[in-house]
Amino acid sequence: MNNLIVYCEIDDGTVVDVSLELLTKGRTLANTLGCKLEAVAIGSKLDKIGGQVFPYGVDVLHLFDDKRLYPYTSQPHAAILVKLFKEEKPQVALMGASCIGRDLGPRVSSAAGSGLTADCTQLEIGDHTEAKEGKTYHNLLYQIRPAFGGNIIATIVNPVCRPQMATVREGVMKKAIYDENYKGEVVKHDVSKYVSDTDFAITVIDRQMTKSKINIKSAPIIVSGGYGVGTKENFKLLFDLANLLGAQVGASRAAVDAGLCEHERQVGQTGVTVHPKLYIACGISGQIQHIAGMQDSSIIISINSDPNAPINSIADYVITGKVEDVIPKMIKYYKKNTK
């Protein structure tokens, strides 16, 4: 009771990365809280899920296995979580800020009358005093996220309602095996007690899923462009440099919104979080929501015509100049010095 629960998203019989990352974070938080880590898997043919999640330190795995539960639709999964939360009374519930988590989380939070914070970039445990009531709440989940287009960082708490719910994007937390031999308990639930036929109101008639060809998450070098790159032609220069360096091309939200680059390449709070050894930021001013997604890069080079661009303050090297002048020079001197 009052444990920490992680909703595990399943793709074709495999728990997806963001859920494993949350199990890793959840294990740490559960240790701080002195409670158990529970996982929920909802879908079809879930026999192999236990083997996948127990090494992450899961104490209890709840299984809801029914062929109607895969592929995901909102209401059956929400109905299961709402009833399970009533029974188990978890103090914290975490899910990925994926298309599924962002569809499911709010629906569950509304039914549970409980607060939900989207796209957290940090989760911590701490106390909170409500000044008005003069009451102190202990061991709350601090849900930390950039807000207001990334101009501020807010710490959100849910003093009273349970569970305290949060979503986190893929790549923000790091997944790590807790103990290869960790053994937890499996609880198989009777799905018919949780879901009614009317919950199957939406029918998936076709799915065309492709493994994305663009994968910037684990790229060792990223050449990233912002609004300051200006044009699609200039963006091509970034691709030229990236091809030469064996790098991937990333982008800021402003560049994606302006149509300079596809959304799959967006780095930041509402895009992908990256940890490359080299991040070359071209014409990126450096709003928090971008920096939240790349600040752990080992080395950051900022190329910007504005010497006072905020991103320069976290950069290791700042080149003051136009992207379209500097990138061709980098290409030229890279070629010259690697002959």
Binding site: S74, C99, S110, G115, A118, I156, N158, I202, Y317, T320
Partner: protein, 299 residues
């Protein structure tokens, strides 16, 4: 979109959820005050971009199914009446503004409660369409929460409405790794992705028709040029609803109805690193490339 058989033509009653948001994409240097709070006055207020994508989908349904009506619903301060007017200029048929001090400070849960009560007040509808998320919070929560409060199905991340036939809607969803086609029986709520087509421009005829449309609060603030208009043309009188008007419980609205509390807000200060500043000269760029190669960062 394939209009259905004309003999079997069917009109829809659509509610479009829209929000007025500060334009966080164009934040200038004066957007933050000295004390680290947001200077809202320095930010232009705009129609939330994905809500415009949602409005376009509604307008396409109206084109395909004659007799369809579009009602806008928004919540905000008195000036959010601009959202209703903007929607009317694009081709909507009417709208309601939820405005009351008691709605202020609402998190997504309290917001969705207020909106769901207003939808109950509107009563008769087939389809609710909203943008996937608003650019000031990016939470994407209000849509699903409204659907849950109304106990109806939801379909999020919709890129295209393929059609409506015999009370069943078919849509294409754009997900991280692909596309899903799903269907469901009306009434239900859908949220529209920014990858959906942009909203058509304002319609000159609609601008003519609605340019004097205003709320009672607006007419109290600024004396209207033609006061008699509002009696002769009731469609120019935009309706404002308070907490009481939509039979909402004040305890569930605004700050008091919000389970999440903001514990702390920091404006962002970066830990300055040791940094080398270079010019864009050939010699500076070459020395940097050589250094990166020497340290095996690249190459």
């Amino acid at each position: 979109m394939q209009p259905q058989n004309k003999l079997n033509s069917m009109s829809l009653k659509i509610i479009v959820l829209a929000k007025q948001v500060p334009d966080t994409r164009n934040v200038g240097k004066d957007a933050m005050k000295e004390d680290g709070t947001v200077n809202r006055a320095a930010l232009p207020a705009i129609f939330n971009p994905e809500d415009l994508n949602a409005l376009e989908q509604a307008l396409r349904l109206k084109d395909a199914y004659p007799g369809t009506t579009i009602t806008l619903l928004t919540m905000g301060p008195a000036r959010a009446a601009e959202i209703i007017r903007e929607g009317l200029y694009h081709g909507a048929d009417g709208g309601f503004l939820l405005t009351d001090r008691a709605f202020a400070g609402a998190d997504t849960l309290a917001t969705s409660y207020a909106i769901s009560m207003a939808i109950r007040k509107i009563g008769d509808f087939d389809l609710i369409i909203g943008g996937r998320q608003a650019i000031d919070g990016d939470t994407a929560q209000v849509g699903p929460q409204v659907a849950e409060k109304l106990k109806m199905p939801q379909i999020t991340y919709v890129e295209e409405i393929l059609g409506v036939k015999e009370g069943t809607i078919t849509v294409k969803r754009r997900l991280e790794h692909g596309v899903e086609t799903v269907e469901g029986k009306l009434p239900l709520l859908i949220t529209i992705n920014g990858t959906a087509p942009e909203c058509r421009p304002r319609n000159a005829r609609c601008i003519q028709k609605y340019k004097y449309a205003s709320t009672p609060t607006e007419r109290k603030t600024v004396e209207p040029a033609f006061p008699e208009l509002y009696e002769n043309r009731p469609y120019l009188n935009l309706t404002e609803w308070s907490v009481a008007d939509v039979n909402a419980d004040p305890k569930l609205c605004g700050l008091s109805g919000s389970p999440t509390k903001v514990k702390a807000v920091e404006s962002v200060v970066f830990q300055a690193k040791e940094c080398r500043t270079l010019s864009d000269s050939d010699s500076d760029v070459e020395s940097l490339v050589k250094e990166l190669l020497g340290n095996k960062i690249i190459g």
